[in-house]
Symmetry: D2
Subunit: 235 residues, 4 copies
């Protein structure tokens, strides 16, 4: 086994589930009255940082993938079809599908909407890798490092990020560009990622790092000593 | 779509990574000196409860699956081959493989060792479903509900449990038969599971429930009202 | 392991890749001039049988899934991005994407188009199970048997059908409702399926069998002795 | 998407299911009396070519992976547990498990047995990629090209090879180092691979090509014009 991973990184940006249904007043989660599901205020606070990271990646020509969590209008993929133990926070799915494919509810927020050249990954469960073409698309453009942000930190972001790690990608979580409806659980995700999965960086530090480490043809050469530096999310 | 999930459950028990390497003095994690990796004291405290759940499942003829986290002696599956961002807690893998396939280190603890008729699932990443035959084996004996326990709550137990849920299984976490080396993060996993993935039950309650809900031919009829009862792990 | 598979079957129908791009004059494959890719005449000859099977399944309330093979307009999923050994028949992908998502080219043929209540599975590689939600959808409505037809017998139909078998589904191939651009290879697929994967039935026989074996609530009780009867595709 | 696949190849060799149970007198398939299952004579004829390819790959330091098709002694993975439509050639599994894990029956043939540094992949269904760590191991040593040989051409070899292609690997089939118990179907596989999946090469040509195209650090630079040369398995 003579071949070793070279010291360069080929990153892609994943923007997880920043959709009207979860994040916009008038979306299906708000209509559930805040009793279950998403904390819109928490989710909306990260929009500026998400916009900044997206802008930096566009400038640096880092490929950008948005995920869209959808349900079919037919209801075939409602949790109630598969599960009889329906946890409290998923209970919205007991009644009607949210973020139905093809509706405004499922669309990415207008403030951070995909540009020409960005990619959309339609997903139906927590991880952006489950039952999607994401892995093959990432392979096809030589991505080996995932920069992850969006909502909810503790559910879809964490599942996507651990899934990426377990498939062999290096992972980076943007701590102030992800939000959870359950702050205590979201904080634990950040600690866990920092200790067991990858790097936890704030928006400012990430953008600075990307700019300073850029090399030719999509490669980034992150400093090796960075590995042992104190990091935000040590848990 | 006329068919509905019937009100019966076909459970299986998953015992995650209760191996010498992680849980026994003299195992490879202890040798790392407690600086990184596993908290053996925390892991060993749950052995009695794990033994009780296993005994109850044997008595009630619930199928039992043990997972074994392994590495190859060749080092082909060391994290250092795939990753250049190596998180702190995984750093043991920088040097030598732990729980090498075929060694004492990889074996299940003697106190709770598999009996004839139990099944072993060899795994290499966090989730017991990744790159294993577990899903097909569960299908082949009509299992639709996973009872999950073992170590580490926040890593392999949580990844296995969320993976089970996302593949359509109902899930139950045995709160006092799982342990984490990082208590705060482990507690967040318990809260998250209770709120977003399934039931969180203590050993006593689980055993009582299994006995009282047993029906013929491997089926269990859990009370529907149980769904809305207060549960331990609400987060 | 006391539970045994009951003697009833819950079938679903899969209609593979019957799209304008592959099967309609003016579609992208015809434009390649017949030198590579699809034999439109062969593909179009099975449309009447496909229509009959679809009609029978609608009448008998058997769930129907259409697959749509697509490419992104961006070209991210062109074979030339992943492969440097590009086989002759896939050479069309060297230049421009065919059956681009959202275009007429990617749509199901008008003669057999999906009705309300049917399901669409968007796919990008040979098997309808790869990187799609098909498996989870089938589980969610208790399907355990796949009736397969469409094009090309030797590529997407065979890959989907062997994938279904290997995931634990029983499989049935409708011999005169599938077609190949390479007749000799297509015939070998039929022989192989009959000998190693499942049943090979003609349209008449399948429709007759479905009608005579229908029971309540989506179940079919196929005769046990059928297993040992002479079958068409014995190879 | 500026990054393009470089013109070098990093191959690995896959040796599929060359086990006593399928290929050795006294193995479980011979005991079924030749009525079902494997043609031992056909399978044994390719042993010399397989040995030559293995020797060449060892010399050239190409990584070698052997697959082992196994069943559990418990019978949990017998086809009869999952399937009620049991095809003729799989009927051996109706009664007792063949190639049980840990037995002589499951072992690789002594004539071509794995050497130190080779890898073993335990599999249970047709494709060596299904429910195994193969993909992750290949990624971890930068393999992008699969050289495939072994038995049966039409079942496990073909499924593994199409699965490799569909996951993004380039594929090469060694025509005279693979055999089928059903010659007509096996020939169709060779034609199909040559036309739709990759290269079909004979042992002599493959070994010559590997020697002449070897570059440093595991890379091979196959001639581009080779793509359009006449190939054996054109179908």
């Amino acid at each position: 086994m003579p071949r070793k991973r070279p010291p360069v990184f080929y990153p892609a940006l994943l923007v997880i589930d920043m959709q009207n249904g979860f994040c916009t007043p008038g979306g299906s989660y708000e209509e559930y009255g805040g009793r279950i599901g998403a904390d819109l205020d928490a989710y909306r606070q990260i929009i500026p940082n998400i916009a900044r990271v997206i802008a930096a990646c566009r400038e640096l020509r880092i490929p950008i993938f948005y995920t869209q969590q959808v349900r079919e209008a037919s209801g075939i993929d409602l949790f109630t079809r598969l599960h009889r133990i329906i946890p409290e926070r998923r209970a919205e799915f007991l009644r009607i599908p949210a973020c139905v494919r093809g509706t405004w509810d499922a669309e990415i927020l207008d403030e951070i909407k995909p540009a020409k050249g960005d990619h959309i990954v339609v997903k139906r469960r927590d991880s952006a890798f489950q039952d999607t073409e994401l892995d093959l698309w990432l392979r096809s453009i030589y991505v080996d490092t995932i920069i992850c942000m969006g909502v909810d930190t503790a559910i879809c972001v964490e599942n996507t990020l651990t899934d990426a790690f377990n498939r062999g990608y290096d992972v980076i979580l943007v701590e102030d560009a992800t939000a959870s409806s359950w702050p205590e659980i979201g904080r634990a995700t950040v600690m866990k990622v920092g200790g067991s999965y990858g790097w936890v960086l704030k928006t400012d530090r990430l953008i600075e790092l990307l700019h300073s480490c850029k090399r030719g043809r999509g490669a980034f050469r992150f400093p090796v000593q960075f590995l042992s530096q104190p990091i935000t999310g040590k848990g």
